[in-house]
């Protein structure tokens, strides 16, 4: 628990900054509608947030995942924490981050939709807009959550690869850690949601297992001078 708290307090500030920027972004969208009126006529996929929330947070948590491996691992273990406890804390922390980010991203949809509503433009929102129905919300949130969590664990596993192994082995093994990104980022247009969720889950499990194996006996090496 204390390691989880430590990780949370380490990243709290960057998380806040990240979402502050995202909030500015969504507010700008809403404002543009209030000021300029319905300039998006004849566009079917009018949600800007759907694109933004689907990409930026994922790559952001991917980078945080890398840092969990390359920055936090040595400090945490050198502070008298076992590798197991570090692993458990990373697992819980990535899960909590994914959940938090998902809530924030849903809030963004709420603001965007409210903005559209002021101009009576809700009809321009895509059919699968997460706030159109409870069903859409559930299916979007479930997949987006898995993708966020997966991206983060993927970054972590790849960070560990480079921490633990020689660079060529690490590069060779990257595909094992990339599962969630393949499932969550590249495939969506090509396969159905069911298949995406399966790929995401398998990728997530693979990245977690890879990370666990790499952490289990990781040495705390001195920093390169």
């Amino acid at each position: 628990m204390n390691v989880f708290k430590h990780l949370f307090s380490t990243y709290r500030t960057v998380y806040l900054w990240f979402w502050a920027v995202m909030a500015l972004f969504v507010l700008a969208i809403v404002l543009s509608f209030v000021v300029f009126g319905p300039y998006i006529e004849n566009v079917m996929d009018a949600s800007v947030w759907q694109g933004a929330a689907g990409a930026a947070p994922r790559w952001f948590v991917f980078v945080i995942g890398i840092m969990l491996a390359t920055v936090n691992l040595t400090v945490v273990i050198a502070s008298g924490i076992t590798r197991r406890a570090y692993f458990a804390a990373v697992f819980a922390f990535t899960l909590a981050t994914a959940a938090l980010f998902e809530v924030a991203s849903l809030a963004g949809f709420g603001v965007e939709r409210a903005g559209f509503a002021t101009q009576g433009l809700t009809g321009f929102l895509p059919v699968d807009y997460p706030l159109n129905s409870w069903n859409a919300a559930a299916s979007y949130t479930g997949e987006a959550f898995l993708a966020l969590w997966g991206f983060m664990l993927s970054g972590w596993a790849i960070g560990l690869l480079f921490y633990r192994l020689r660079v060529w082995y690490a590069i060779l093994l990257i595909p094992v850690g990339l599962g969630p990104i393949i499932g969550g980022g590249s495939l969506p247009p090509l396969i159905g949601q069911g298949a995406r969720i399966v790929t995401l889950t398998v990728g997530l499990a693979l990245a977690t297992a890879l990370g666990f194996l790499l952490v289990r006996s990781a040495p705390v090496r001195p920093k390169k001078a």
Partner: protein, 293 residues
């Protein structure tokens, strides 16, 4: 905390950093770990702190293997020269990490030490000088109040006043909160008086484990005509010898008894003391040449 090391080996590729090292420490004292650069000091400390798993052999801290043992590692603190802290963060974050992760962390003491070493909590770690980074390591090590605290060449780049501040704080805190300290160094003169016992290692093997104070006066130089010196030291442990013309100086290890001292004087030999640093140099060289084991 007691430390037991049995036939410890640590291999890196085809290099034996630790090569069958064995010793045992009762704990509750300040120990000095001495050795030349590359003698295996850092490797040994890394294994003791469960930073690494040994290739073979056994380490027992208070009777238990430390690796992945939460009950043991939470009581160990190893401060390395490289400093295992967040480089990109401020000093305040380093202290916060200590508070959150260290079992016995003392925040008030950490603040006091920062003041003593004139470190600002607002500074970023990477902007600190070499000596300030070392001082930060010392702050973390002492404020951790870990039952087993180890410093690996932790004074690097520190000026004399800061080093003395370190020694004073170490002694004061050890007196107020008795625990086990292991301090590695290759600069002996300055710190030897802090140690109760010393362990000397060379090439990953134990050269000597001895009460620190007893080591003073443990070496004797015998100077005189070469042949007389040779006869006198024949049955003694000779660590090194030098010849100048017909005069020879031999450094022997061990104390001479009264009979030997008298015999030396009768034979016209001059006996002299050996400084600790010289004794250390002789001992590690002798180890390498297989004179003492």
């Amino acid at each position: 905390m007691s430390i037991e090391v049995r036939d410890l080996r640590l291999r890196f590729g085809d290099v034996d950093a630790l090569d069958g090292l064995s010793f045992s420490l009762a704990g509750g004292k300040i120990y000095g770990l001495l050795g030349r650069n590359g003698s295996g000091k850092t490797s040994l400390l890394s294994v003791l702190a469960a930073f690494r798993r040994p290739t073979s052999g056994e380490v027992l801290i208070n009777g238990a293997e430390p690796f992945e043992n939460a009950g043991v590692v939470s009581q160990i603190c190893l401060i390395r020269e490289s400093g295992d802290v967040y480089d990109n963060e401020r000093v305040a974050s380093v202290l916060r990490a200590g508070r959150q992760l260290r079992r016995d962390w003392d925040s008030d003491y950490a603040e006091k030490l920062l003041e003593r070493f004139q470190l600002s909590t607002k500074k970023r770690v990477q902007s600190l000088s070499r000596g300030q980074k070392s001082a930060l390591g010392i702050v973390v090590g002492l404020a951790s109040r870990a039952p087993l605290t180890m410093f690996d060449e932790s004074y690097l780049g520190m000026d004399a006043p800061s080093r003395y501040a370190f020694y004073e704080e170490l002694l004061a805190d050890y007196t107020a909160h008795p625990r086990t300290f292991v301090i590695s160094t290759h600069l002996i003169e300055e710190v030897a008086s802090l140690f109760e016992e010393v362990i000397i290692i060379d090439r990953g093997r134990l050269v000597l484990h001895e009460e620190s104070d007893a080591l003073r006066g443990r070496g004797v130089t015998v100077t005189g005509p070469a042949d007389v010196v040779d006869t006198f030291v024949a049955s003694l442990t000779v660590l090194g010898q030098q010849t100048l013309g017909r005069t020879k100086a031999a450094t022997i290890y061990g104390e001479l008894n009264d009979t030997q001292v008298r015999a030396a004087k009768l034979a016209g030999l001059e006996l002299g003391p050996v400084a600790l640093q010289d004794l250390f140099v002789h001992l590690t060289r002798a180890e390498a040449e297989g004179i003492v084991r």
